[in-house]
């Protein structure tokens, strides 16, 4: 992993850790460790997914796994991280709900890590806060900072929701999908982005948030 990406990952880890301190209600023991472990596994799964999609066999070229700059599949990373976290807490949904605000804050840190990577800028813009590359006359949307700020707002909002099974995590997924979907038109892309996956995340999140509390609510699972 390149040093700039490592700094972005450290920013995400620091904000994730901070999130577990800021919103500790209902968390399992060692919440930051579980969150960071899940994030690392998600990154690995996302990288493997991207390599396979690009036609590179991860078994024949294991060194390529470290080339995160070559691409990380967002959907694979999300599924991998959520699965790893759920595995670490033995499938207790309440712990998924409890960690959601911290996870959103960590994701905001990853997007904000564009400052280290020099990768904040998107499409051209005349807005007053648009910024230009050094030596360029084209001012651009600082699109990754938009995403980071929106995810901080989402984390703060979700943390204020009451604990009902899958309500926080479902709405957290909706927030992530919405943030990515709304900022995608301002991103420069060669592959068209993962719009379909963002819409799927919103749909799954909405269903989970609406159906989860009715299906899973029970005194033994509720966190007070």
């Amino acid at each position: 992993m390149e040093f700039t990406l490592l700094w972005a990952a450290l920013t995400a880890a620091a904000l994730g850790w901070f999130g577990t301190r800021l919103w500790p209600d209902g968390l399992p023991d060692l919440p930051a460790d579980r969150l960071l472990g899940a994030g690392a596994i998600g990154l690995l799964v996302g990288r493997i997914s991207a390599m396979i999609a690009q036609g590179t066999n991860p078994l024949l070229h294991p060194g390529d796994l470290l080339l995160v700059r070559g691409g990380v599949d967002t959907a694979g990373a999300t599924i991998g991280a959520v699965a790893a976290y759920l595995w670490s807490v033995r499938g207790e949904i309440r712990y998924l709900d409890a960690i959601t605000p911290a996870a959103l804050l960590a994701l905001a840190g990853w997007h904000g890590g564009c400052l280290w990577r020099g990768a904040c800028l998107g499409t051209a813009s005349d807005l007053p806060w648009a910024v230009a590359e050094p030596g360029s006359v084209v001012s651009r949307h600082p699109v990754e900072l938009y995403a980071a700020l929106a995810l901080v707002a989402a984390a703060w909002t979700v943390a204020r929701l009451s604990f009902r099974p899958l309500a926080r995590s479902g709405l957290g997924l909706v927030a992530v999908g919405m943030v990515r979907l709304l900022t995608e038109p301002m991103r420069l892309s060669l592959t068209g982005g993962a719009t379909g996956w963002y819409i799927a995340a919103i749909a799954v999140g909405l269903v989970a948030a609406l159906v989860g509390p009715r299906l899973l609510a029970s005194p033994s699972r509720a966190v007070t």
């Binding site: 590179t56 390529d64 700059r69 499409t123 420069l188």
Partner: protein, 160 residues
Amino acid sequence: MRRLLPIAVVVALSSSCGAPGADISGVPDLPEMSADEFEAKLAVLDRPAVVNVWASWCIPCRSEAPLLNAAFEVHRDQVGFIGVDVQDNQSDAKAFLAEFDLRFEHVFDRSRSIPNRFGGFGTPITFFFDSGGELVSTHNGIIDERGLALGIDELLHLDP
């Protein structure tokens, strides 16, 4: 059954993609080119150009290759794409091109005279040139999708 699952995953991955020893019989030799010839080529291209310096032994180049192909497919009508294979041999270079199905033009520069002329270091390097053949920016090291898209977009704003 649970013990068999990892084995099944490994077998599936092994056979899924990236077969080694790609068939290079249909891939022509890469034309050798000096720095002077390359500069002259850029000057008459009459459109901006992305020049990627790569080598078959370069591990980061493997992760760039699919991105460069994607960029070529999106911008082929507006931007020229040229690969410069350095410090390599023809058979390994052709195997690399065949493995990634790189469809844009490539030249062979065993002595690295072309990247040395333009001031980049290491491998890979991505140079961005305007339509007059003047160097606009240089990205040393592996470039990601956003960086490549940004470099191309900057070129297109210079030469709308």
